[in-house]
């Protein structure tokens, strides 16, 4: 009676528009649903910023929205990095908005019209690349600005001499796992939420199939829970984008100012 509903199927990457065997230098470069949603996020961000860049003296609603986000990011960088943080505003703003839009585009109820929404931030390949991007900016800026003095980052100020051989490897390891924890956090938070929603959706379908009584009790309760979890997921989508931007700016602070 009850079918098994696979909550992981929503993360399957499929080639679209018959580009299954498109290859470049031996690698498959098929245009997938993941790529489609990345393009969608970039296009929506582009339209959002272009529409708000009219530089009117009295901003309209759209311009006020864009200015709200840019002010938010610039104050974030000012608080965490200081004056030297201004040159990172474009990067952190793009990063924050791209992740935010990706999280939200993946949550659109497109399933109602038969499309399959896809959240590419629920894949470690996508979030890992964003994390590596942030981490390489930290490395490049750190070594460019401070040279080999950058290694003093791994010895906190005032460490007693006998403690240095112990502290240095610990700090080095905690520095090296940063890109993993940065990418992993976003990927797992999005995956966990979507799996939870699909599991609850499975409860609704299976209980309705089992009979009217089950459908009205278990199904309705699960559906109400789903609505609440969806609201929570929107909060998580914003928080995770914010945390990614925040941690990036904290790491940039290390590169820019050392300790």
């Amino acid at each position: 009676m009850s079918g098994k509903i696979d909550p992981m199927h929503q993360f399957a990457i499929e080639p679209l528009f018959g580009t299954d065997h498109l290859a470049l230098g031996g690698f498959n470069i098929a245009f997938t649903n993941s790529a489609l949603y990345m393009v969608a996020a970039a296009v929506v961000l582009w339209i959002f910023v272009i529409g708000g860049s009219k530089r009117e003296l009295v901003p309209g609603r759209w311009q006020a929205a864009v200015e709200y986000f840019t002010t938010f990011i610039s104050s974030l960088l000012l608080a965490n990095v200081g004056e030297g943080g201004k040159k990172y505003i474009p990067y952190v703003f793009s990063l924050f908005m791209f992740i935010l839009l990706a999280n939200f585009l993946g949550m659109l109820p497109l399933g109602v019209v038969g499309l399959h929404p896809f959240t590419f931030t629920s894949h470690f390949t996508a979030t890992g690349v964003l994390a590596i991007l942030s981490f390489s900016i930290v490395l490049i800026v750190g070594f460019w600005k401070h040279g080999f003095h950058f290694f003093s980052l791994f010895i906190p100020h005032g460490t007693p001499l006998p403690m240095i051989p112990v502290i240095f490897p610990i700090e080095l390891i905690s520095f090296m796992v940063r890109p993993f924890s940065l990418g992993l956090r976003l990927f797992v938070a999005m995956t966990a939420g979507h799996v939870l929603l699909k599991v609850l959706a499975g409860f609704v379908i299976n209980s309705s199939n089992a009979g009217v009584g089950y459908g009205l009790t278990v199904g309705t309760a699960s559906f109400i829970l789903m609505i609440g979890i969806s609201a929570l997921e929107m909060l998580v989508a914003v928080i995770q984008a914010y945390v990614f931007a925040l941690l990036t700016s904290v790491y940039i602070n290390d590169a820019e100012n050392l300790h």
């Binding site: 608080a79 992993l184 956090r185 797992v188 995956t191 966990a192 945390v243 925040l246 941690l247």
Partner: protein
Amino acid sequence: MDAEAAKVLGAGLAAIGAGIAALGVGNVFAAFLEGALRNPGAADGQQGRLFIGFAAAELLGLLAFVIAMILVFVA
């Protein structure tokens, strides 16, 4: 014990980690709220630190989830 059963049991045990991370995240916000109500003027300036603490506590719960997923789907 059957290997398949051990995997599922391990995934269930990993869920305890996710629950304990909930305690950690609750602690972060509780302590922030406690401090913020004592000194509301300083609260807004500390939101960055609040979310760094939240992210650090949450990560360990997410790692527990990853371990459960690896046990169920990969191992």
